[in-house]
């Protein structure tokens, strides 16, 4: 008997005592084509009473973020949203991917302060209540780690890849906050100011540089996520939301914004989050996230049977709205238009769908997104013609899934010729913020 079934039986109150009893209980599990009288049990007794804070069903506890076993510490790293186990477009707050550089701080909202200073007329300090008094904005935006897709750098590809491990460093939420432009106006930005240097209240005092212009355009100082306070992992009580840009610039636990005339060139915009190109140059400030899509069903490690399936997936782009998603059912030889489920909001994830009847023959399925700026996802070969094989970020090539004759779905990406030099550090541990590359 597997653990999941055991837990399920235990929680249903059927496993009264002995293991022998348990085994016989499983023996009687109804086939999907019939039903058992156990379905009537809940109609004979009272259910759970009212409770102040809701929890998901006890039968859904296996839907969790993926934490790579290769990570060397859980105090700096990333874990992944379980994309193929979720529906719709909003990521439940508890399953929003995490990325931090010094653990998740606990910040007391009564002690919380945000200070804006530097090239301003009036240095100002705001409490959380102050921030909530300003006119508020609620918008849905995706946040994606620049390291999303890091498994694409692995060569040969990992056959056991899942949608989670392929693209789960993207989550999509409704964010509420005050436009940073309002706070900057309150402080009065001085002539000559061009940059903002936001800082977090975590052990890494995490710092980045953000052009003032972007802040005036659409950046939010957010205090709510999906209707309630931010989760600690997402920056409680206050974070930056920088729509369409790499997650690492969206500073969490925001405590200070310095208005400056130059960027800081912090560790996380030089040693990390810079990109090695195919020509050997290194790019700084690669902020905008290029279009991405991923088929979440059917996807790696799932199994399907012959017949009807609604292919489902997610697409998003930092350049604006998704204009089109195409799917291929024949390994990229031909492409068909998927339907997009509205509303099609800019800089937010969108669900795409395609009705498919699988005839039982092995095949490779793929999706490819195009955004309103006209950018389309590249093939891995096209991607690596521009980006270095030893780059770590911004992988957005098409993900293929191979459906075998047995219906089992595996990574359909092909090995590419050539290989990187092995690390001098040997095989211990893996790179990439999620420990996957």
């Amino acid at each position: 008997m597997n653990r999941r079934k055991l837990l399920r039986l235990l929680s249903q109150g059927l496993a009264l005592g002995s293991f022998a009893k348990l085994s016989s209980a499983t023996g009687q599990a109804p086939s999907p084509r019939s039903f058992s009288e156990k379905s009537f049990e809940s109609m004979k007794t009272l259910g759970a009473p009212l409770r102040e804070y809701g929890e998901r069903s006890e039968f859904e506890k296996e839907v969790v973020r993926y934490i790579s076993p290769n990570l060397r510490t859980r105090h700096s790293g990333a874990d992944f949203t379980p994309l193929e186990k979720l529906e719709g477009v909003i990521t439940p707050s508890s399953l929003h991917f995490e990325r931090h550089h010094g653990g998740v701080p606990s910040v007391d909202p009564a002690e919380y302060r945000l200070v804006i200073h530097g090239l301003v007329e009036r240095p100002l300090m705001f409490t959380l209540q102050d921030l909530k008094r300003f006119p508020s904005v609620t918008r849905t935006y995706f946040i994606e780690c620049a390291g999303n897709g890091q498994n694409g750098y692995r060569n040969p590809p990992d056959p056991t890849l899942t949608a989670t491990r392929s693209r789960g460093l993207m989550s999509n939420s409704s964010w509420t906050g005050v436009p940073l432009a309002i706070l900057l106006k309150e402080a009065g930005v001085k002539a000559g100011a061009r940059w903002l240097i936001p800082e977090g209240q975590d052990a890494a005092a995490y710092t980045r540089s953000l052009p003032l212009e972007k802040a005036l355009e659409d950046v939010l100082v957010a205090y709510a996520q999906n209707g309630e306070a931010l989760r600690p992992e997402q920056g409680y009580p206050v974070r930056l939301v920088v729509p369409g840009w790499e997650g690492s610039i969206q500073v969490k636990w925001l405590r200070r914004i310095e208005v400056a005339d130059a960027p800081v060139m912090s560790k996380d915009e030089t040693s990390e989050y810079t990109d090695v190109m195919a020509d050997g140059t290194i790019r700084a400030f690669t902020w905008v996230m290029d279009p991405e899509s991923i088929i979440t069903y059917p996807s790696g490690q799932q199994a399907i049977s012959r017949g009807f399936h609604e292919i489902r997936g997610l697409a998003w782009s930092g350049h604006g709205r998704i204009r089109r998603v195409e799917v291929s059912l024949d390994g990229g030889n031909s492409w068909k238009q998927a339907s997009l489920e509205g509303p099609l909001e800019p800089l937010a994830a969108v669900r795409f769908k395609y009705n498919w009847v699988w005839d039982g023959k092995p095949t490779t399925i793929m999706s490819r997104a195009t955004d309103e700026a006209g950018n389309t996802q590249p093939t891995p070969e096209e991607f690596f013609a521009r980006w270095g094989r030893n780059n770590r970020y911004h992988y957005n090539a098409i993900q293929a899934w191979h459906v075998g004759a047995d219906g089992k779905v595996l990574n359909g990406d092909k090995a590419l010729p050539g290989a990187l030099a092995p690390s001098r550090l040997g095989a211990a541990g893996r790179g990439g913020c999620g420990g996957e590359a």
């Binding site: 240095p123 100002l124 705001f126 800082e199 212009e213 060139m265 560790k267 140059t281 092995p422 550090l425």
Partner: protein, 179 residues
């Protein structure tokens, strides 16, 4: 009603809401416990440190995680050859000597975030010293002068030659130049 309108017009004069506590420069300084150090050197504090002093700080505070002399251990390799990475360099081998474009980032980052589990314990002199030690170990300085607010920004990092501004960013913000 009329009063409320008049009041909001008053409050919103110059588009401001009059929310937030004005701070003095002294109060800002007290809040700013880990001040940023820019690539220009702006923000570097007084004080200095030598390679020898840095070797001691390193052995006591850093070696357990980064290896006896920066070669990497439980965590990042800090020492690399003093020439930039190539297309073949494994990204796990990116380190100060072959990848970091600015010397000031070392001061900013180490003062802000290291040692990993106990950040904030080093004095400014100790940070200068360990920065000197790491630059020396990477073959970038010869150790003849201490590192301070005048010498550190002058250090040339080999990987700076490879660093370029992202073209998408350049298009959107034509005024940006890298330091």
């Amino acid at each position: 009603m009329g009063l409320a309108v008049a009041l909001s017009a008053l409050v919103l004069a110059q588009g401001r809401y009059q929310i937030g506590q004005p701070l003095s420069e002294e109060e800002v300084r007290r809040w700013n416990v880990r001040p940023s150090v820019l690539a220009t050197g702006a923000g570097l504090p007084p004080g200095e440190g030598t390679v020898d002093q840095g070797a001691q700080v390193y052995a006591a505070q850093c070696a357990a995680c980064h290896g006896g002399s920066g070669e990497g251990g439980a965590f990042n390799r800090l020492v690399a050859e003093p020439f930039p990475v190539t297309k073949e360099t494994n990204p796990r081998d990116f380190a100060i000597g072959n990848y970091w474009p600015y010397p000031t980032t070392l001061f900013d980052y180490i003062r802000r975030a290291m040692p990993f589990a106990t950040p904030g314990i080093l004095s400014d002199d100790e940070v200068y010293a360990v920065v000197a030690y790491l630059l020396y170990q990477n073959g970038i300085i010869d150790g003849s002068q201490p590192m301070n607010a005048a010498t550190l920004p002058e250090v040339e990092m080999p990987a700076r030659a490879l660093l370029q501004l992202d073209p998408t960013t350049q298009k959107k913000f034509p005024w940006i130049t890298l330091p």
